[in-house]
Amino acid sequence: MEILRSILSEPFFVILLGGTLTASIPIILAAIGESLVEKGGVLNLGLEGEMLIGAFVAFVIALNTRNLFWGLFSGIAAGLLVALAFGYLVIYLKVNQIVAGLGIWIFGIGITSLLFRVFFGRRFPIARGITSKTAIPYLSQIPYIRSVFNQHIVAYVALALIPLAWWLLYKTNFGLHIRAVGENPVAADAHGVNVYRTRYLTVMLEGILAGLAGAFLSICDLSFFVDNMTLGRGFIAIGIVMLANWNPSRIFYGAFLFGVFYSLTSGLQIAGVNVPREFLLMLPYVAVIVVLCIFARNTRLPAAFCLPYERE
């Protein structure tokens, strides 16, 4: 009873909601990118690796320049670069997408852990004071939901990207190309759509978003970097894309759900719930499995999913 009361109290609810939103932002960004590549027929399992590399590079640059913009920018650039490498492997060289994706993932874990030690040794620097929250006037005063309107600037961008991605995919020529290339690349090619270019562009967009997601995690959300800090968020994003049936507009629900459970892990500890910490830490992952199990049964994949395209 005591616990319930403390959970429902205004300050606690505000923290929970704010934390939920913050936790869901990297997932939203990564999942938007992944939904675009997958809609174009490419599975990028390297998402996690790209996020990690983005997070690391952004952190190092932000720490040294003490500048949010350069941090985010370099994170994006790093994500883009890795994604381009991935794109070159799977689109041009037609490497098995699972092999390349797993390779990029393990590479991401290894290289960031390696470089972290080379750069910082046994130190764990914290990038303080680089970023701040942007409160929206008036809205950030509303009780209970005020934390929604007091977020990092990147969070607003991420939320705005959801309808933008939907619009891109369903209302623009480029989106038409993506959908055609993922469903029937032979037809798209026959009608003069450049399959390679379209897929490269989706992979690049995805790299930018994955890099931004990583950068948000390391410099906006946490202000530090640790080994493998994405903790499966890349894979969760891939799961959420399936959950959303490859429609960007539905990504928010899945990401929000992850955010709820993620912020609950710290929220319930603060609220003094007597459950071992480890069980709370499991919650987001269990939630993803449960939700996939309920909503993602026998989903229909894009027809050319995971297949490299080759003429003749």
Partner: protein, 345 residues
């Protein structure tokens, strides 16, 4: 003729390994470390010393056992990438149960029971992904990965809570006395886990090649529709393949607890599955090819560990190399298919 096939099969992975070493060297160079010295130390400490060789051979066991399971499940076209979690659960089952089983029974029964426990632990951890995959076609990559994180937290809970040996010390399960651990292979300091690993991987190889179940697994992996057409019970085969691979990962956990660690310690996560994935790809899911590659990978791990002290290159460099090998393996596969590399396969 037969020799030609072998040479052709060896060239691809060899090229991938050399390319990875080259790119790895470039990375070292760019971050200001001396690649020549690093590789020199790596090979000297990993292969040139008695200790390095012994340790490498010891470390082969878990890699071989996990790979045996991965060969089967990957060849069936199912991507179990949560081997780490299954490994940890198998290990904690053994770490928790071994102290209870020590007294009384014969050593054979004791080891058999513990091996079984490890196997069951790993298999248990893949039951949910297996059912979701077989029944609802929910992507196993995501679910096994999620289960991996659940396992990490679950074992952390167990070792800090119910299974903790001494609450005032570093959290770990009760230590298994040295006399109750896996015996050494005669005349060596290498425990018999290596023999188990070799046996298991050879068994897996011939299982896939020569048995009707292996045929079903391969059929499913090549083409699901054709398997259904041929009357294979896809759900059953999917679940069995996944359980076997999870079980082997758990057995590898049992091996490490009984052969090396003696107890399950908090924060312990050797990440063999990360290495085993590139390894089995490089071996093209061929059990015989896994053996030399497992030696190479465990040499890298041991050499990397020793080198990290000697040359001050963090051990994670080895993981980078492994990832690069996997990526270059993909490239060579493509190039061999296209006939751009050496000749067509």
């Amino acid at each position: 003729m037969k020799l030609g096939i072998v040479v052709k099969a060896v060239l691809g992975p060899l090229f991938a390994i050399l390319a990875a070493l080259l790119v790895g060297g470039l990375i070292l160079f760019f971050i200001g470390l001396n690649p020549f010295r690093t590789y020199f130390e790596l090979f000297k400490l990993g292969m040139g010393t008695h200790l390095g060789i012994t340790e490498s051979l010891k470390k082969m066991a878990p890699l071989l056992i996990i790979s045996a399971g991965l060969i089967i499940v990957f060849k069936a076209g199912i991507w179990n990438i949560g081997g780490n979690g299954q490994f940890l659960i198998g290990a904690i089952f053994v770490g928790g149960l071994a102290p209870l089983l020590i007294n009384g029974s014969s050593p054979y029964l004791y080891f058999f029971l513990l091996a079984l426990m490890g196997f069951l632990g790993g298999a248990l951890w893949i039951v949910i992904p297996a059912i979701l995959k077989a029944k609802y076609e929910i992507n196993e990559i995501i679910v096994t990965m999620m289960m991996d994180f659940v396992a990490l937290n679950f074992t952390a809970f167990l070792v800090r809570g119910p299974l903790i040996a001494h609450p005032e010390y570093f959290p770990q399960t009760r230590l298994i006395p040295v006399g109750q651990r896996l015996p050494f292979i005669p005349f060596t300091r290498i425990h018999i886990g290596l023999i188990v690993g070799l046996a298991v991987v050879i068994l897996a190889h011939y299982f896939m090649k020569k048995t009707t179940w292996g045929y079903e697994f391969r059929l499913l992996g090549e083409n699901k529709k054709a398997a259904q057409y041929a009357g294979v019970n896809i759900k059953k085969v999917t679940i069995i393949a996944m359980l076997i691979s999870g079980g082997f990962a758990g057995l590898a956990g049992a091996n490490d607890i009984l052969g090396i660690k003696g107890a399950f310690q908090a924060e312990w996560n050797p990440g063999y599955a990360f290495s085993a994935i590139p390894l089995v790809f490089l071996a093209r899911f061929n059990g015989i090819a896994v053996i030399p590659l497992a030696y190479f990978f465990s040499f890298l791990a041991i050499g990397g560990e020793f080198m990290s002290r000697a040359a001050n290159v963090p051990v994670f460099f080895v993981q980078v190399l492994e990832a690069l090998m996997l990526i270059f393996f993909g490239v060579t596969e493509y190039m061999q298919k296209k006939g751009k590399l050496f000749w067509k396969s």
